[in-house]
């Protein structure tokens, strides 16, 4: 009789451990997504002509968008929204750096990128580089881009690219993405909770 009771208690304890362990790993799992997200890495040239890397922007939250200056629709729309975010952040804006990384370095040289980003907001940093540097940068963000031949387009091609905005923590970890056309107010709210 006593043996049966011990076995039953043992089973109950085991069940408790399994449930608790599952809960704990679930908790750690969701938390880990924010703390230990992948760390994008890059070496690029900013729109002032200086070589920069991911380390340059450590200490600030970064909003990263991939695009190209020949893009007349999605890129201006998103950059205008990032400008609204920066204006809406008030004092917290100093803790956020918006980065525009061109995926069309052949056409988007330093001066082109400088002219483009400054049309939207003085805080937006434009980044370009060699084909290899840009490909490595996009890969490290798990971002996708491709060159699409198109007869009517300027120079005979256009670009397809990941349209989301990436949020990178001050420690350089990926935190989340904001899908295309996320209202600036939602991005501001999200950032204010973190800053």
């Amino acid at each position: 009789m006593k043996t049966v009771r011990y076995i039953l208690w043992g089973l109950a304890l085991l069940a408790l451990v399994i449930v608790a362990g599952h809960q704990l790993s679930h908790f750690l799992g969701t938390d880990a997504e924010n703390v230990d997200g992948f760390q994008p890495a890059f070496t690029l040239v900013n729109h002032q002509g200086d070589t920069v890397s991911e380390a340059t922007y450590r200490g600030n939250w970064a909003l990263v968008f991939f695009g190209f200056t020949n893009c007349p629709d999605i890129c201006p729309t998103t950059l205008a929204e990032l400008a609204d975010v920066m204006d809406g952040l008030g004092n917290s804006a100093a803790k956020v750096t918006p980065l525009f990384i061109t995926i069309d370095p052949e056409r988007d040289r330093v001066e082109t990128v400088a002219e483009y980003v400054s049309a939207f907001h003085p805080s937006i940093v434009g980044l370009t580089g060699t084909d290899k540097q840009v490909t490595e940068a996009a890969d490290s963000f798990k971002a996708y881009f491709e060159r699409v031949p198109q007869d009517s387009a300027p120079d005979g091609y256009t670009m397809g690219h990941t349209s989301a905005v990436y949020l990178i923590s001050p420690e350089g970890h990926f935190v989340r993405t904001f899908q295309f056309r996320t209202p600036p107010e939602m991005i501001i709210e999200d950032l204010k909770e973190r800053i």
């Binding site: 200056t69 020949n70 893009c71 007349p72 629709d73 999605i74 201006p76 729309t77 950059l79 205008a80 400008a83 002219e115 483009y116 049309a119 939207f120 996708y144 881009f145 491709e146 699409v148 198109q150 009517s152 387009a153 300027p154 256009t158 397809g160 690219h161 990941t162 349209s163 989301a164 993405t177 899908q179 295309f180 056309r181």
Partner: protein, 159 residues
């Protein structure tokens, strides 16, 4: 006393109405038979080397499907409707071909969807200026609409 106040109110109201009338908030609208083109606007460009985009709404108030077959802009060599498609978060753009307008429906060209690509600009699109866009429909024929140029960061005409 009260009659002076009343007169003052009437004058202010008339003035406000006059001001409202002089600078209407409604963008230019053009129609031909049953097809109406309205709420047109374009994005300012930086120089002429990169394309710009124009947006508008087309309403077909007729009884038959019409088709937008071609466009011509006074400011660019090429004007054509392009569509943005999103697949797994990757955005791609390309010519939309002839745009169908079913009877009683409207087609809205807006950021992140259909837009008029203005390519090979003849002149920079400057905020505050206007240009003429000619839309040619299979049934309704050509319609000219005056397109105001808004800022590069604009997302549409202010309502």
């Amino acid at each position: 006393m009260s009659s002076i106040k009343f007169l003052g109110a009437v004058i202010s109201l008339t003035f406000l109405m006059a001001v409202g009338f002089i600078s209407p908030a409604v963008p230019d609208t053009a129609r031909n038979d049953e097809v109406i083109v309205e709420a047109a606007w374009a994005r300012a460009s930086i120089g002429t080397s990169r394309p710009s985009a124009a947006y508008l709404t087309i309403r077909n108030e007729g009884d038959e499907t019409d088709v937008l077959t071609s466009l011509k802009a006074s400011v660019s060599e090429v004007a054509e409707v392009h569509a943005m498609t999103m697949t797994d978060g990757v955005a791609r753009m390309g010519p939309a071909g002839a745009v169908k307008l079913p009877a009683g429906h409207e087609v809205v060209l807006k950021p992140g969807g259909l837009h008029v690509m203005l390519m090979n600009l003849k002149q920079p699109l400057k905020e505050g200026e206007k240009f003429t866009l000619t839309l040619t429909f299979k049934g309704a024929g050509p319609i000219d609409v005056s397109v105001p140029v808004l800022g590069i960061g604009a997302s549409g005409p202010v309502q």
